[in-house]
Symmetry: C2
Subunit: 146 residues, 2 copies
């Protein structure tokens, strides 16, 4: 997982400047690596340390981080983009289980799609570089309620 020094290096390579706003936004993800934060979540977290930060800055920073593969932009169908920090260099590591009742998102570890990807690549001449898998259903707690 990325740290501040990696960030400094990556930014230097691309001639981005390392502002306090950007460092604090990264920190927000490091402190919440298990969550799926949206722009507004990030804004609220970051404002506690840096009162005057603007929401536009958050959006601009999230886009840069996504381009640099520091964050992964995702959609869980709630009308806003959510981001999660890339835990490793291999993005194919976990899947999301989305509860249709309470909306919570659980993670499921393990990459069981490698073979499926090679089948698809061969059969349809499509060069796959990433995938996103979402399972919809009911989590343990919501099953108990019924």
């Amino acid at each position: 997982m990325i740290n501040i020094d990696d960030l400094r290096q990556k930014f230097h390579d691309r001639q981005y400047k390392l502002t306090p706003q950007r460092q604090i936004i990264l920190q927000a993800f490091l402190d919440n690596h298990d969550k799926h934060l949206c722009a507004e979540d990030v804004h609220n977290i970051v404002r506690q340390k840096y009162t005057d930060i603007g929401l536009a800055t958050v959006y601009r920073t999230l886009e840069i981080f996504s381009d640099l593969d520091i964050l992964h932009k995702m959609d869980f169908g709630d009308g806003r983009s959510r981001y999660e920090i890339n835990e490793s260099s291999n993005p194919h590591q976990h899947h999301h289980l989305i509860c249709l009742s309470c909306g919570k998102v659980k993670e499921f570890e393990g990459d069981l799609l490698e073979t499926l990807e090679s089948v698809i690549s061969r059969k349809s001449n499509f060069k796959i570089v990433d995938h996103q898998v979402k399972f919809y259903g009911y989590c343990r707690e919501c099953q108990d309620k019924c």
Copy 2:
């Protein structure tokens, strides 16, 4: 795949009214079962037959159809929801290959996730009812261009 008579039955059960607008919107999907239409696409198609239909009606109808599992709401990351008609009673039939270069969406037939689903259900106590799988990469045509 659904037809007008099925629609009549489903609507009757829920006390929805079968208006010409709703029939024409269903017809748009029957005529374009291979496409992934967004609300505006539907509005444009439907307006050719029913000039005065409002975009709000299209949105409201798409939501009803999704609730009734006649349509499937999807997100391909282009900032708007897209819908496709449910070809069968089993929604687990095909996956989407999204080209990162030209944006085209191809379909890949075959349900290779049944076993993965049962593994997940067992290991994480999550009752899966649906899944959505997207593969990102480069289509044949865009690979040739490089």
